[in-house]
Symmetry: C3
């Protein structure tokens, strides 16, 4: 009975066109010249990750694959334009296209937390709000907390995960064994396609900003490798009969890349990167148990694609590792490093609180009647948003 | 009843071997040395687009996925060899591998128009004829109409689309609601895989030839971004209940990249690229309605994968934009630009008429009894061409 | 009845963790500095091939797709770490990350031969043994047989195929028409996804080591092109009604790239590369008939993904071509080339015998009770190793 679905005909298209018109006008005023300072291989790898990697990574829901991949495209593109403008408007003015695209990872991660629960209208509002807030948080990180530009960018996973969780807490939980909130082997395979793309391109992501690119790449590769291997071990240990779970592999294989983000170019010994990958993967899988059985039900949070343990916990670990590395460097370097440690911790606390507070506020905004929040019974369903030609023919 | 299918055993394999033998002999005489002047990243991106991107882009038909992807591989490879030889034989002698591969986009687009309606025999004949004609048309463009080499190459979408349509007009239309001429959600997703690959690599395509690579890349990215966003808006507006259609996203997301092709490196302001992307996407979706409901039935053309509105109309728009840009430059530059405008229009008209005329002739040739055209009832079916091992086991 | 499956809970995870601990300790002692001498584009392409390309290439079995792609990831990553350590421990000391990844192709090929027949425990043991043996065989090739480092690396296909076959001969054959030992159109398409990825990236693989990169790339492209085209011709000729078989396209399309590996940078004329591609493809498809109907049943070998004719025979052809090319160069160059020919033949014979002997021994080891070999009835089945969430919900 399609008549029972709300129609977004008078809202979503016009909102998109309005935003696009605003972007074009702003580009007209702000960019007197073509804005072309970037390395194309970096841009290509990051856009491959965002469009192709995250797009397929999110297609694990059995009835939500069109929306996962389609809306991911929409959101990434809208967000990147918004991010380019924000970068340029802010005092950075280093503002380069690749960095603008990297910021979008925060939004894509957040969307993972509310996947299937918010409509395109809400998605767009959330994207614009989050990218603006994240850009401001980075500005404060760099200009007030004196954190390096590179580290401020690596907060992208942390910010994305906790912003998404805070938003998610404002939406009602689906029943624990909802038929639609599940994957099939086919959709898990598609999601694996995205995961492997992300896995292969992750070293590019971590090496865009550091000057010592090769060190960053090599350390990221090692951390990713160890975290993927450990994922199998820990996944096997957490089931009664030693079988693996594909969802564990999806999330834990990437955990190493997330955790090493902050310090990829500063790690001097390969074994440190490997240990970090091992810890990240273990925390990710063990965290998935604790969170799903204890914390989430109590806080009434439903984390649709497990962004908390895929991106949140590993980035907390990464921040911790960065602090430890800095402390270890004290003995060898100047005493000013103590001040640096305080700043790193301050930036971390500030970013996580900013994400949680603005996420909560955004969650409240998204529940406004104006944005037509969808009822619980219509969660995780493509049919609300997509016209299927085959349905006419009795598929 | 497989006995009712025509067998291509005595024709297709021998035709392929004959062509391959001819190519090897010609390579023997023409290339005394290894022909290795090219940039590998460019070649890799273009071949990724042709083999992987277009291959999956065409897999939307529910019972034709093996043929879509398999024959695409066959055709691309045969065509590239043919194209290398033509480039070398022609007076260009700049003839480089990447450009030879780029020409193949014309053939792949044309094949989209007759997808599922012609057999491998006809496909191969069409490929060879089209690549020769396109190469000659480029030669005339460059040497007689004095158009730049770069612009002559960007006619590839225009030529491909109208050649394909002309060929398609010589084949009978399938019944409007043919069961096999439809997609399923799975096949639409596979097609989306191809679309996203094409989308990510399109900036590479537009930046192979221009010397100002970064400008071309940035403008193409913007045009693609705006066209994908606009695709969602316009798609939502054209359905009664505001739902999106995946086929609109497939075609309109790429329209911006096609439209900006001609002038990607000459556009000075980002907002022009964005406007072009917006127009391309709008024209593509609105065109799909007008063409499918008015023009195509009247002209008895069946455009299997919508190449007219995916590649044809956007490239017409791109050519128009190029003229407008040239006219606007008159005031600032030398008066000789008026002459340039006439040449651009002339080259455009020549290319489109060459495509239509040679396409019609090719369509007539393809209907020769010798090439065993397939009956209407066998359209859009893999079983004619592929042995399925699982069928023996009662699949 | 999951209770009938053996549980790997007490073995596989601990084995993985043990190996990972050993690797970390060895990295701690062996690498005092970050090990970062590599070209990132090469590393990215090779890892794309290994993780994404081979992963999907092996997903053709209808009930084994999770294991194909998951275990491929596990094995590749474990193997690369092992290979980095071996390279470093050996006297090479050139040991670079890309080369370590390239060696893993041998293991991935071998695993193709026993796909679905060995459990993760056996897989890991086989990986570690094979990578050590292959590294030693390369050492002997370079330091005793005085073969160039590049050629010793190109033995990777030869070694992988014959090692895998030897291991496979120690496992019982599945019944000829086993229901589970088959592909579906969907799984064949996924496998095509992997094949096309491999096809597009193969020129990168062949051009990592040679100094004349562009020649190697161009020759590899030509050989791959001709072999894919020929695959269609020969596949059509070998069926009664001229239909194509997807499995032929999968294997023969890559045969050209394998065959040209040894001499990609030494071939002076494009037509030689093309002839080699044509022969490789023909040998691959004709070989698949001879092997599957005559040799394999007699030797009681079951070659699950046809590695013998996809990688084995083409690499034998490639070695032969290398010898012929060297002999042809005698007249033009110094007489010492006769000695070189002897060395090439010696290295070839040594590598193939080393592969067969150590493969047989490894096959015997893998059948130890300790490693819990799986019974014939559980071959080709994901359910042994993976927890499917949807099964609980009555999928």
């Amino acid at each position: 009975m399609p008549s029972t679905y709300p129609s977004f005909r008078c809202s979503v298209p016009w909102l998109i066109l309005f935003l696009e018109a605003v972007f074009i006008v702003l580009f007209y005023f702000l960019f007197s010249d073509v804005y072309a300072f970037f390395s194309y291989p970096d841009l290509q790898d990051v856009s491959h990750m965002l469009i192709f990697g995250f797009g397929f990574f999110l297609t694990f829901l059995k009835r939500y694959s069109f929306s996962s991949i389609g809306f991911n495209l929409l959101i990434v593109i809208l967000g990147v334009q918004c991010s380019i403008l924000m970068d340029n408007a802010s005092v950075f003015l280093t503002g380069r296209t690749v960095e603008a695209a990297m910021s979008m990872v925060a939004v894509v991660i957040s969307i993972g937390a509310v996947l299937g629960k918010i409509n395109p209208m809400q998605l767009i509002v959330m994207t614009v709000v989050e990218i603006i807030v994240f850009c401001m948080s980075r500005w404060i990180n760099v200009h007030i907390l004196e954190v390096s530009y590179r580290v401020s960018m690596m907060h992208v996973h942390l910010f994305g995960a906790y912003f998404g969780l805070a938003v998610s807490s404002r939406f009602s939980e689906p029943p624990p064994r909802a038929e639609k909130n599940a994957s099939t082997p086919k959709s898990d395979l598609l999601s694996m396609l995205g995961t492997l793309s992300l896995w292969v391109f992750w070293p590019s992501f971590n090496s865009v900003l550091p000057p010592q690119k090769n060190e960053a790449i090599f350390n990221t590769c090692l951390a990713l490798a160890v975290s993927a291997v450990t994922a199998f071990a820990v996944s096997g240990l957490t089931t009664k009969d030693g079988k693996f779970r594909m969802t564990h592999i999806h999330s834990a294989a990437l955990a190493g890349g997330v955790a090493i983000g902050y310090a990829a170019d500063r790690i001097k010994y390969p074994w440190i990167a490997m240990i970090l990958g091992l810890l990240a993967s273990t925390i990710s899988i063990l965290g998935s148990f604790c969170l799903q059985s204890c914390l989430n039900p109590r806080l009434k949070i439903h984390d649709a694609s497990g962004v908390h343990f895929t991106f949140g916990l590993p980035s907390v670990l990464g921040a911790l590792a960065q602090v430890v590395l800095s402390v270890m460097e004290i003995q060898t370097k100047s005493p000013s490093i103590g001040y640096e440690v305080v700043l790193i911790i301050g930036a971390f606390c500030f970013t996580i609180s900013a994400a949680l507070v603005t996420g909560l506020i955004t969650g409240l905004i998204l529940n406004f009647k104006l944005l037509k929040p969808i009822p619980l019974s219509k969660y995780f369903e493509d049919q609300m948003y997509w016209k299927f030609p085959h349905l006419a023919a009795g598929f």
